[in-house]
Structure formats: structure tokens, C-alpha cells
């Protein structure tokens, strides 16, 4: 693999990892969700440091250009992360629906209590 490309991509991945850690420090990203992003960065970095080894594996499935191996990995990770995000969003949606319903029911209870109190006065 072209050494210039390798170095450039390696620097990009390092910046990316530092950015994720920065988001974690500022509590803008929760650790649980950061794990997949960090894992993807680390694996891409491993492939960039040992391209020959991974290309050996990749050529078995028909990949010729080393760069395409990186693209495939990144694409795969993005897909995985997007699917997991959809799952997380679905869970959040459900929780919000429950909150809305419970809050509405609580409001009714409070309203009934207030009415009972004004009736008693």
C-alpha cells in the first residue's frame, strides 16, 4: 500500500479517535455509544499499520486494491453503527411514549385531588 496514503489515513484516524475522546470528556457522548465508534477506529488503524496481513485475508474474497479494503471496513462499520442507532432510537421512542402516558395519567390524578380539595373547602 502506498506509504503516503497509509500515513495520511493513519493521521485521519488518530484525529478521529482524539475527537471521540474529546466528546466523551465533554459528556456530549455517552461511553456506551462511544464504544462502537472507538472500536471501528482501532480496527481501521490496525489494518493501516499491518496492510499486508489484512490484504492477504481480503484478497481471498476478491479485493485487489488495499484502499478498497479500508472502504469496505468503514462502510461495514457505518452500517453496523446506523443499525444500532436505529435500535437505540426505537427504545428511546418507547420510553418517551411511556413517559407521556404516565405523565398524563398523573396530571389527571392531581387534577382530581385539587378538585376534591376545593370541593371540601
Amino acid at each position: 500500500m502506498n506509504i503516503i496514503l497509509q500515513t495520511f489515513l493513519l493521521i485521519m484516524v488518530l484525529i478521529y479517535l482524539i475527537f471521540i475522546i474529546y466528546l466523551l470528556r465533554k459528556s456530549k457522548l455517552e461511553l456506551k455509544y462511544a464504544l462502537l465508534w472507538l472500536l471501528s477506529g482501532i480496527i481501521v488503524m490496525a489494518v493501516l499499520i499491518f496492510p499486508a496481513f489484512f490484504l492477504g485475508l481480503a484478497s481471498k474474497i476478491g479485493i485487489v486494491e488495499p484502499v478498497n479494503m479500508i472502504f469496505l471496513l468503514q462502510g461495514g462499520f457505518l452500517l453496523l453503527i446506523c443499525i444500532s442507532l436505529s435500535v437505540i432510537v426505537s427504545g428511546l421512542n418507547k420510553k418517551i411514549r411511556i413517559l407521556v402516558q404516565e405523565t398524563a395519567l398523573l396530571e389527571k390524578r392531581i387534577r382530581d385531588l385539587e378538585e376534591k380539595r376545593t370541593d371540601a373547602e
Binding site: 475522546i21 466523551l24 455517552e30 461511553l31 456506551k32 464504544l35 418507547k94 420510553k95 411511556i98 402516558q101
Partner: protein
Amino acid sequence: MKKLVIIPAYNESMSIKRVVENLREKAADYDYIIVNDCSTDQTEMVLKENGYHYISFPSNLGIGGAVQAGYKYAKQHSYDIAIQMDGDGQHDPQYLKDIVEPVKHGMCDMAIGSRFINKTGFQSSLIRRLGIKFISFVIRLCCGEKVFDTTSGFRACNAQLIHYFSDNYAQDYPEPDAIVSASLNGWKIQEVPIVMCERSEGVSSINTWKSVYYMIKVPLSLILHRISTGRKKVKK
């Protein structure tokens, strides 16, 4: 000195009554609040029927969310000391004073009841003990604290930590994480020897496969926490 015992409960309908009665009997001067984490069994009914003090979640948040709600309650009602105690009967109220005294007298900010200092009472399975030892090592790496019983949910905190934990409490692996958090923010942690009982009813929320998963993710999470937080000055 206002003291609150926070009892997180998820599907503990079999043991919660005994836990509360035991607490009322051995530690009548302690207030308590049960946090019912949207139990799917008869837990809520048991709580209602017996008139116990509790808050009930409309949706399940997990142990982190439940305990954090307990700390929020403690903050709201201006408690001086908050103690976490399990809802399954593993923690004996007779040891409450052992973890409360060091905090009350300012010897530390957080006191953890540990099974492994004197190695008495229920010691847990071998796999869990090895895992706990490993987490101990990782915690020492992250913040320098030498803690033997890292997953012990029997701990007491002062008002400062109550305020901190109400806003910042780890959701996934709260017990070891809270140690690292508190330590990195400059608070003092102490371990106190106590005796724990074996879980008598119900199922632990951590089974064998989950234990393995836990032992991989927790150290990773703690190390990342350390990298992303750094050590802050003493926040007194």
C-alpha cells in the same frame, strides 16, 4: 443527622418485605426509600399493601438509573448521609453503623462495605471473585484506589457525594464506576469489613454469560473513563 437508605428493587417481591421489616427493626432511626425499577412481578403490590415508602418507575432504567433516582430523592429531601442497600437481603442492617460512622465523622466521603477484607460470610463464586479481583486491579490503575470489593452495593456517602451522584451516576456499571468517579474528583474512599448473606430468593441480575461480558466491558469502560476524565483537583 438525617440518614436515608436507598433500596433499588427489581422483581424482589419475595424478599423485599423481609428486607424492610429487618431494616425497621434493626435500624429504626434510618429513613428509607425503595426504588421500584418497573418490576414485572408483584413487587409493587407488596410495597403498596404494606405501606412502605417507595417510588415507582413507569419504565425500566436499570440499577444505575434506580440508584441515581435514590440520590436525587436524598438531595431533594436534604439528607446528610445516603446508604445504598440491596433489595434482595444480602446486606444486613446491623452493619449500617459500620459504614455510616466513618462518613459521619468525616474520615472519608464514601465508605464501602467489603466482604473481602476479613473474608467472612458469603464469599461469592470463584469466577465472580476472580473477576472482582481483576476489576480491583483496573480501578487501582485508573485512580489509585485500593478497593477489594468493587461491586459491593453496600455503601454510604455524605451530602457532597449525594449532590454529585444525583447528577452524575454511571448507568451501565455503576458500582466500580462510582468509585473511579468519586476518586478522580478528589473524594476520599474507605473500605469497611462486613459480612454479606447469600441471595436467598429470586435471581441475580448477573448470570454466568453476563459475568463474562461484564468482565470485558467494565475494565474497558473504566479505562476509557479515566482517559476521558483526567484527575481533577480536590472539590471541597
